[in-house]
Amino acid sequence: MPKRPAAARRELANFSDAAKQTLAEAISDVAGPGEDRQVRVRPLVVHGLPAQVLIAASADADLLVIGSRGHGGFAEALLGSVGQHCVQHAHCPVLITRGGEDV
């Protein structure tokens, strides 16, 4: 059943808030709480296909760092993973780091 536009918008806003919260926690875990940070971090939550968004962001970047997501499902194997798209099309050097799932 298609959702009504207002409900869909509300759900997207909730999703966006949840993503911002997750991102803020991840940054704190890695770089420490805001006031102690040695590096400047600019968090950004963007709607879109992951590979497209990352490739667009790489246009004015010195380095694109992405995590490996481990073993993709069948669809990912078939269409090429986000990592595959990024290494193929990014406009700057790409560094892939080992994700938790492949350990």
Binding site: S68, H71, A77, G80, Q84, R98, D102
Partner: protein, 337 residues
Amino acid sequence: MSDPARDTLSAKAGYLIEMAARAPSVHNTQPWRFEIDRDAIELYADPSRQLLVDPGGREMVISCGAALYGLRLAVRSLGYLPDVELLSDSATQELAPRALARLRLGPAAPVTAEERKLLAAVPHRHTHRGPFESGPLPKGLLPRLEDDVRAEHATLIVIDSPRARRELAELVTATACQQDRDPRSRSDIWQWTRSTGSLARDGVPAHAIPAVPERAAGQLPQRDFDLGRNVGWLATDGPAAPVTAALFTSGDGPQEWLQAGQALHRLLLHAASRWVFARLNTQPLEDAATRALVKECLIGPGSLQLLLQLGVSRTAHVTGRRPLADLIDPDRAPDGA
């Protein structure tokens, strides 16, 4: 009547070729091109990308063999078995105009869990020119890599004895300085290395070049990609690679070079699925006299094709690849490519 395998091949040709083109190649020259036929993809060597230090085309065809393995694996991801016809039994000078291999889709067969791991490793598989982390390879991996190479009709010999490793390192170090000064080698490096900010999609980029050539005792030295230009990003200190190995084939012609390349790519993807990467020491085998000396120092069957060192890393500095349009004949491009 529509043939599902043929329709799949023409619909997915762009994807298959892009996956094949993630293969490793000497100096990241990517010395390959593809032609798409109605029901087949043909792989050709591209001699305009052949190194001066590789006049016989051995390294070029090994690189093409690696691309052939990438193509086979990509076909598996579509749920088909690859049907490969090797075409070259000719002398090397005739390699260019003739296809090295023709690939069709064979019978349908579901992709295995093992193959899925290899496919997932394609984006981060890279030639590791920086330092490794300390520590051994994951337990049980090495015999599996030997199995991979054997399945591709080649042999992987792990150089276990510290004495043999030391002798090999001394020999390679002694000849490396001389080879680094070879004008052909320097010319290749100038042509195939890229400084920071370069938009080139081939060659070895600054972020994959060691800042100074590594000359640590007991380690196989890497080729000097920097040539005193200070373009390299990578640190060169770090623990020794835990494994040194050599790859042999039964003979030393184009067929065996293709086998060596397929064996290498399979081994590298399997290793990369466990975040183990290789440093490839191709330089000592480019000079016939040095290659003979290195062969004497190792005990292995047939012809020595590759020396590699394996180690663990949590990060992968991947290198760029030429766009699809550069790899195929424009008149025969697939739809939407």
